[in-house]
Symmetry: C2
Subunit: 252 residues, 2 copies
DNA sequence: CGAAATGTTGAGCACATTCAAAGACCGTGG
DNA sequence: CCACGGTCTTTGAATGTGCTCAACATTTCG
């Protein structure tokens, strides 16, 4: 069972150094010229360290910061009006947390650290003010937001048409790609989500997630040892992930 | 079967009048003061009229305009690398088209009119330039983008856990709400999507969509007559839509 | 009116869910 | 170091749901 942990205690604040951060091309500074990053740096808050299960913010809280992941990983969980509990996002280093809170200025889900993690806080009001002065930052933000829309739309609609095995394969290949882009091995990584969380994220039960992983292993695509994943046959895993849902592809 | 029609021919251009448009609170002008709308008006292009099946733009084309729907409805269809054909969005009056194209400056899907429709074009470059001068416009855009992320995330993850009947009920209630907000009857409306498109949109086959609609009708929740929908029992339809997927809700 | 697209119906099958129970793994404290 | 409790994970059997394929009805449009 998944759980939301204790309130966040800010601990071990450190100085931020975007220009030396190896994630800077993935993060908001992106390809901005370094003199412009300086301005951004002025509003970025020191690093916050989170222990496993520590909460960055709770659902419903007023939006004050966006965050970028510096290390570790976090999940977003949303409870619907009907008490349904859903894992709605997984954040890896370099990714922006809180983009979905801008609309109504409240966070639409709670964000919890899945392992020891650190994040940089970007106070939102100052960030927006800076937007007015620096068009490039504004565009950068637009792109991040837009990218997210596209990702969610396509990924999730693909998932809707897939079997459990396909969904798991989709998740693994996408995760592998995200790791690779961040400089980690795409072939060997640790799942920070439990089976239950993964099930919630993919719209499956935890048992089905386990069985799907098992079947992938039996086909020689991956090795699964608890949460340690090793990808043995990326081409075929990708084929399983992409190779349509359960019905043949249709032309337009 | 769904199809993508012929290229767009711009026809019957009309003058734009945001200040008199009854959709303006839903559209980008939103709650902007009218003197600011004036600036926006300067960059808005005349209305384009689209016949049924006419294409607003094709997937892969370079982003030049965002569009807002003035009347009618449109769908977005995306073809994946593997030839999979997906209906990825449905646009109603007052909604912004093309937000998911900002990220890589190309449209990630083709947009086709489902019925006779009209749209206002917002040339993107000028819009962004205007953003730099008018912070409010910028924020407005941020909110639209953010809202979309949240919607897609939550809606689709909810769908993932639902039976066919639940998915259809979700769709109907959400659609009803969207109509209501736009001043149309929430109890009686026309489905502009075919069964096949709806299936693609909800991750079901067209047969299953039909059967699910039928079952809703048998329960006295709605009347279905082709694409004409009449909602008879909104409370219970909403209950069916919200009342969890197939497993009981879990606490956090 | 006839052709084509769209919608409906039915039977069999594959797959995911459910529920229950047992097994592995983890950190804690003896 | 091992025993303990908890969480997480795996396994099994029975059930129900959606998919597939194919045929038929209906509507739409030329």
């Amino acid at each position: 069972m998944t759980s939301i942990g204790k309130p966040l205690r800010l601990a071990s604040l450190q100085d931020v150094a975007c220009d030396t951060c190896h994630l800077n091309t993935l993060c908001l500074p992106g390809d901005l010229a370094s003199e412009k990053v300086t301005e951004l740096k002025e509003i970025i808050q020191p690093l916050a360290r989170l222990a496993r299960h520590e909460v960055l913010y709770y659902q419903g809280a007023e939006l004050d910061n966006l965050y970028t992941v510096r290390s570790g990983s976090l999940k977003q969980v949303t409870t619907t009006e009907t008490g349904e509990y859903l894992v709605t996002a997984l954040f890896l280093p370099g990714e922006l947390i809180g983009l979905d809170a801008i609309a109504d200025e409240h966070y639409p889900g709670s964000v919890v650290a899945l392992e020891t993690s650190s994040v940089c806080a970007l106070p939102f009001k100052p960030l927006e003010a800076l937007c007015a002065q620096r068009l490039e930052l504004c565009l950068r933000l637009h792109r991040s937001l837009s990218q997210e829309i596209h990702n969610e739309r396509l990924r999730l609609r693909l998932l809707l048409r897939r079997t459990a095995e396909g969904r798991v394969a989709c998740f693994l290949t996408a995760l592998s790609e995200r790791f690779q882009r961040r400089g980690y091995s795409p072939y060997r990584f640790h799942l920070s989500l439990s089976r239950a969380d993964l099930g919630s994220y993919l719209g499956l039960t935890e048992e089905t997630v386990g069985r799907a992983l098992m079947r992938c292993q039996e086909q020689g695509l991956v090795t699964v040892r608890g949460r340690e994943i090793r990808i043995l046959d990326m081409p075929n895993l990708a084929r399983l992930a992409h190779a349509s849902g359960r019905r043949k592809a249709q032309g337009g």
